[in-house]
Assembly symmetry: C2
Homo-oligomer: 382 residues x 2
Amino acid sequence: MHLLDYFLNIHFKRSQGCFAIFGFLDCPMKKKEKITIHDIAMEVGVTASTVSRALNNHPRISPATKKMVLEAAKAINYKPNRIAAALRHGKSKLIGIIVPTINRNFFSSIVRGIEEYANARDYKVMISQSYDDYKKEVETIDALLDARVDGIMVSLGKNTHSFAHFESVIQKGIPLVFFDRTTDELDVNQVIIDDYSAAYQATNHLIDQGYRHIAHFTSHMKIKIYLERLRGYRQALLDNGIHFDAKMVVESNMQLDGGRNSARFLLDQSFGFDAIFSASDYAIVGALQELKKNKVKIPQEVGLIGFSNEPFTEFTEPALSTVDQKAISIGENTAALFFEMINGDPRPKPRIKKVLDANLIIRTSSSRIPNIQLNTNSTNPE
Amino acid sequence: MHLLDYFLNIHFKRSQGCFAIFGFLDCPMKKKEKITIHDIAMEVGVTASTVSRALNNHPRISPATKKMVLEAAKAINYKPNRIAAALRHGKSKLIGIIVPTINRNFFSSIVRGIEEYANARDYKVMISQSYDDYKKEVETIDALLDARVDGIMVSLGKNTHSFAHFESVIQKGIPLVFFDRTTDELDVNQVIIDDYSAAYQATNHLIDQGYRHIAHFTSHMKIKIYLERLRGYRQALLDNGIHFDAKMVVESNMQLDGGRNSARFLLDQSFGFDAIFSASDYAIVGALQELKKNKVKIPQEVGLIGFSNEPFTEFTEPALSTVDQKAISIGENTAALFFEMINGDPRPKPRIKKVLDANLIIRTSSSRIPNIQLNTNSTNPE
DNA sequence: TTGAAAGCGGTACCAA
DNA sequence: TTGGTACCGCTTTCAA
């Protein structure tokens, strides 16, 4: 394998000293500093206004001069100054995004969706993280306003139970869109997935697999997605003639440790359970660890299903069933909504609410029927 | 559990119709549009220049007027227009960051480090993702230049083997800093961890645990971090009197599937192996899956260690040893370097290279000594 | 179809 | 210490 030796050698050689690859680096004479539309105007022999029109394909310009301007611009490597343009027509062509944390596949995928949609329309995106901290979220709104963004897209932090900081955004007439973690306490357009239906399907799937004592892991009910998931879970139980028992609903921070504790709690209780539907993937992994530590067999004895389709749900043993939230699609729809708002009615009378469908992903952690068809340790065989 | 019923009820009530919480939403009369320093000047009875000085705590201003201006500004809820300021003094107070993908704990933590350091200094951050796509990286540089950022911080994409797109950044005199995935082919300041030493330690740890036939998973050698990790691995072997065998170095995309394939490859070969040091956590998870599928016992038969301390390395069974790269610290140092550059010499003669130490995290996947002290199935007992 | 000129909201120089 | 003013680069009316 010569290649390896080659690279190893290269390295040693390089360590001896630094190459000056670009001669112009230390070159004292500078290039022409800044190129503006006036330079182009000079070049072509017209005025700056004409150049501006040519560059922004304004209707009132002759094809001939337009062509000349465009060519000259390319020739002298002109780059428009968006800041100047922004100052002039009061549009920064910047979109601010606030997510609890970008360090989640779900959120980063949404951001990707927004980004691609926006970039295609010559808008840039500014990402901020609230870290689920209310104070930070308030500050961030302020920072984005400071940066004069043209619109703000927010997924609310877990601890955000007051919404006064969005008033100034609304008041300034800056388009505001909520996605995923939203609230109904504010009259704001939003893009969400059908959490209710997804939770219903997930619970139903567990029931199909013969589980009957299904616990639910959730977080604060002030956050709508958790309320919706609880409602879906509850309805699925009721529709299958299973008693909804509030004792089976365990609230936590929905992190790894929260999941562990919640599982611990269930194990310690006397009422028994044979499945968990968690509103978070992190919590279900915590539960998985705790259950395995206690020699509980998954999915034979307890079925598990999470929420969000985080990449690691594929890595666990067994692989975890979960709900895919079509993050990219949420992002695209959120961005699309923003563009609808700036092009049409910025604050439509009945608020717009886009509800997307989620996808149930069935993996091993909730599948006991295929291989153990006869195992009927549940009390209510179908 | 009344609380649940409470929330469930609330929901149903709310579904009936939308509340108009903020009366002013549909209020036809608008608030005062934009508040500028001229408004303050008018209010206080001075000129705009004086207001500007007061706001930017310029030395040449009397405490009395300064106080009046500040109070007036607060009273009429003035917000400075950064765009106008940016246009005037040619500084956007924006920093551009390019990472391959933000959807990695490592990168998002770095970004967090940069963000906090920069925000504390009144700079904002613009995050872009290259998705390891060379073309996208080039475009993104252009987009950031377009946005007139004051500096750019980059972690190179996996497929970036040409660096011409950074020339224009350097040429424009915009501070450029590379972090983590860097190159020496460009004379640019950089912040990296000591990959060589970290790899050395990791390999050494495996040897300490009695493993002797240690394979290495790597990616393209053009990326310096992989070269360094390979070098550390190699040196650790040599220093322990173990033959370095290029056959044991397996190259892949370092994703989950790459790891699976590489493990498959090792299993298919005749030369045997009893440990893997992977330069990526994703690849080592892939290997773990493949090995488990083949009933290989971890860590008894094969020891594993990854790189990056991704959160999921804690979730696997067994938990994976890995290398923590102190991402936040990388971020802070990268930002600090930027501020050194804008305050002092933007392109110091000998390039600055900050090298941070990494942390070996030992978990179950590489620990067989504690419990199986007597198991000496290796040929070279220490 | 093109040009002239007035700003967008701050900043910074020069003069007072 | 303050005021007057030109200007950053681009957009956009109004006139020609």
